[in-house]
Amino acid sequence: MSLAMRLAMSLAMRLAMTTRPETPHRASWLAVVAALTLGAAAAGTAGCREVPPAPPIRDVRPTTLERGDTLLLELGGGGRHGGRLSAGTEVAVKLSGTITPVNGRPVDGGLSFTGRAVGSAGSAQATRILAVIDEPQERAVGGHARFVGRVEITPAEGRGAVLRSAPVELDLFPRTLRRAADGAWNGTELRRVTSWLGATVQPGPQGLAVTTVTPGSPAALARLEAGNVIQQIDGQPATQGRLAARLQRRGTVTLAVKPNATAGSTVPLRVAAGGAPRPFWGWVIAALILWGTSLVIVLLVAVGGGFITVWERKVAGRMQSRIGPNRVGPQGWLQWLADALKLITKEDLIPADADRPLFLTSPYLVFCGVFMTFMVLPFSQLLVVADLNIGFLYLLAVTSLVVVGVIMGGWASNSKWSLIGGMRSAAQIISYELPAGLALMVIAVMAGTLSPQEIIRQQGGAPWSWYVFHNPAALCAFFIYFIAALAEGNRTPFDLPEAESELVSGYNTEYSGFRFGAFATAEWVNLWVIGALATALFLGGWRIPRLAPEPIEASVWLQLASFAVFFGKAAALVFVTIWLRWTLPRFRIDQMMSMCWKYLVPFGLVCLVGSMAWMWGFQGHAQAQRIASIVLFVGGGLVPFVYFWSRVRYTYRVTNGQLDLNLFK
């Protein structure tokens, strides 16, 4: 994705944040834009009734924190809405709310900081508070976790009224060596180094004297103890900065440590970047586990893709007044197995003039590009490999790998048809990533996050609480996304890269056997990705009507039911793509490109702005939003469906057709 898109995305996120209310009277659009350009995101102070003795909190940053980091609270200018806080005042900063480890259960908890109000130069008025996380509270942050709650400023003694509070969302990370080393390198934030190491050290005449060691930290794993004196780091005199810098570069360092200040001899200790040194067989087991799980995923996904091929062929058969495959397995449903076996046992032909290495690798790239998307697809609340907070960004990124594979295959085949197919494909997929990304931004604007799970949680189970019917812009965005996804997946009416009547078979013309099978599997698996993604983004994902996420999580049966809901929605979308393929002709390349650049991209931008405007206009009016959603659901969902159904019935009547939905005969 281009830099501009990333920028626009972050702007959109900012804008989403500015839509929270700060004061009863609403800022004008100009103010919003101004706030945008300044990069100042506002945090509301909704809970306050009386004028508090401190200025309002305007911003809390950074929003991703590591242990040992400093939290900075920007304070507003006081005046009508706020009191004054003189610079230099000691305050306690307390965060209370829930900490949710990613992929884990949320725990109630808090973090407390001690901070100091700091004023701008020469001013007695405090404009910001710098706060550092207290050491003892850190244990809650074992891995990557998300904090949602409020930040409160209280007087330093911990007693008395809350001076100010504001809602805040933070991403908490464990200390990373890289940032510790950065700090060490700059010589500025040594706290990070020691914080990562888990030991506090005191420079002394003999070296670095260890004063405390946190259990479980790298220091403890290296068997450092309080009272030890580090004399040398890799044979060089010990300084605070060197330890982290060395670790960052080499992974392990050897310390020369005296057990105590008075001991005569030194003991060598090894500190490893990854904590305790892992034995070799540990690596083997880890690799085996990784290999095994990925094999399971790949096989499951491939089998799913295989079933889609049979499904597609059966649907195509019904649509074309034929039967479709019905010989292998129960009513032909094992046809994919026969196809796969056949493809695997076929000769793997490589054209004599092909660019051999590229020709051989390209199917794997396509295969990986599609299969890696399954990392973030949320099949149910718990059935997700990784709930990345940049989930959809990741999705857009890895699916780009497909283009590389396709264009490589087309080029390496050294066939003119393959080449044209590859070029068409590259032009098409890269172009259509833009409208897809724009449609995604509409959702990002509404949800304020890119995490698939979070987006699903913010939607509801009933159709009118899905994002697709949230506002007209979202409804348009859904269609833009769906069209763009069809184009990215090379599906009719955008199947130009493999248009059999024009390009024989496009980029995969020269492929045979297993490699062809890899292309084919990727294509059909991608169908599933399209369906699942649209379901998660627009159609409420695994949400069950009238049920909040918490009870679903508590019950295995509800989990299964929510998986079924997700599966059903995604399958319906897959059916639509299959159905389109067997109905529509295909575009010509220039028509396809003009559709993307002249219609979808501008329209996507309009949708983005429209959705922002909607969010701004309707925020705080839950009732109006609900009515609008229901109106949209009826006007944009029910009415078209009823019209469509009446058309179908009419056609069936005049042609004496018979509806045949049974795919098991």
Binding site: A316, M319, Q320, S321, R322, K416, W417, I420, M423, R424, T492, P493, D495, L496, A499, E500, S501, E502, L503, V504, W582, T583, L584, P585, R586, F587, R588, I589, D590, Q591, T651, V654, T655, N656
Partner: protein, 387 residues
């Protein structure tokens, strides 16, 4: 035929060898395409892959014995080719044809025209990516094939017409079956319109592509649906009726449902473009249904069993040109006879032959995908070109 391309020219252009092993040339055509990326500068047709020297074969056999070979001139619509040969020889010999046979010829010609157009319409849509149209129309074509099989025993190469009549009379119950098909087929054609003719993408792909003006169509000798799509309002069945077409047309006129020659117009497409070439054929199917219906009504008045009066001895002397409106347009057969048992020289002039000649001129500046649409819309059939 068999132009061998050895080297790619220097510069920006690439030479693409499209066919005969290419899905949309159906194994019997070849185009040498000069292209710069997607845009072609020229597509040169290379024909002759199906050349069997039928005209030479004709010189070696009797007039009656040549009839099965005419099936192979256009195996998708063999009835009109049969008819053309029978008509020409009858003209030479002066043989009378019983009215029942004339009606049967009209019915079979029109049924065969419908089934031939099914192939064209389906293949055109399929070449543009809409695969479903093809099997749908094949399903309908199967019904026509079943009807013709019941009549003459063959599904593709009928060998049904005879000099002086037809081979067999229609079996009992056959007219009812034909009527059932005719009744069924009208709504199916409407459904086809809803499915593909009016489809936004399909119209976009065909509208204004490879426009052949009426003057060009006449100069290139394009005939039949292709010429009519360009606005040449001429149909042998109406303007130079042979057999009993005049009577059938008059019957239709009386019933208030006159036979209308389908001509291309500026509607969804532009006159002479690929869309009109497609739609003219849909319209022709409708008109053929009318003709079949009327001919079936009129054939009831003719005595059963009088379907063939074979001429005593076929040893004509002289020359004649016979014309019929075949599925791919005006097919004419020129026969030179010298009083022998065998023809001295026979020459067939077919619709596909002249349609194919237009491809080279019309392909300039088109895109590769348009070439596919152009070839499909011209409905060229290789055996008709190569003979």
């Amino acid at each position: 035929m068999s132009e061998i391309v050895l080297a790619t020219p220097a510069g920006e252009e690439m030479i693409l060898n499209m066919g005969p092993h290419h899905p949309s040339t159906h194994g019997v055509l070849r185009f040498i395409v000069r292209t710069d990326g997607e845009v072609m500068s020229e597509a040169k047709p290379d024909v002759g892959y199906l050349h069997r020297a039928i005209e030479k074969i004709c010189e070696g056999m009797t007039y009656e014995a040549f009839m099965p070979y005419t099936d192979r001139i256009d195996y998708v619509a063999a009835m009109p080719a049969n008819h053309c040969w029978a008509l020409t020889v009858e003209k030479l010999v002066g043989a009378p044809v019983p009215p029942r046979a004339e009606y049967l010829r009209i019915i079979t010609d029109e049924l065969n025209r419908i089934s031939s157009h099914h192939i064209m319409l389906g293949a055109h849509a399929m070449d543009l990516g809409a695969v479903t149209v093809f099997p749908w129309l094949l399903r309908e074509r199967e019904m026509v094939n079943d009807l013709l099989e019941e009549l003459c025993g063959a599904r593709l190469t009928y060998n049904y017409h005879r000099i002086g009549g037809v081979a067999v009379d229609m079996p009992a119950g056959w007219p009812d079956k034909v009527m059932r098909f005719v009744d069924r087929h009208g709504p199916i054609l409407d459904e086809l319109d809803r499915l593909i003719s009016g489809n936004e993408i399909f119209v976009k792909r065909n509208r204004g592509v490879a426009v052949v003006t009426a003057a060009e169509a006449r100069s290139y000798g394009m005939v039949g649906p292709n010429a009519r799509a360009s606005g040449v309002d001429y149909d042998l069945r109406r303007d130079a009726p042979y057999g009993l077409y005049a009577k059938v047309l008059a019957g239709l006129e009386q019933k208030g449902t006159p036979f209308e020659v389908a001509v291309g117009r500026d509607a969804l497409g532009v006159t002479g473009d690929c869309w009109n070439r497609f739609y003219v054929r849909v319209e022709e199917c409708r008109q053929s249904l009318k003709l079949v219906r009327e001919a079936l009504a009129q054939i009831q008045e003719t005595p059963a069993g009088e379907f063939w009066t074979p001429p005593k001895k076929i040893r004509p002397k002289g020359e004649a040109l016979g014309r019929v409106e075949a599925a791919r347009g005006w097919m004419s057969c020129y026969v030179v006879a010298t009083g022998e048992k065998t023809p001295y020289r026979a020459h067939f002039r077919t619709g596909s032959f002249t349609s194919m000649a237009v491809v080279r001129a019309k392909s300039r500046g088109l895109m590769v995908a348009d070439l596919v649409a152009l070839i499909a819309s011209l409905d060229v059939i290789a055996p008709e070109i190569d003979r």
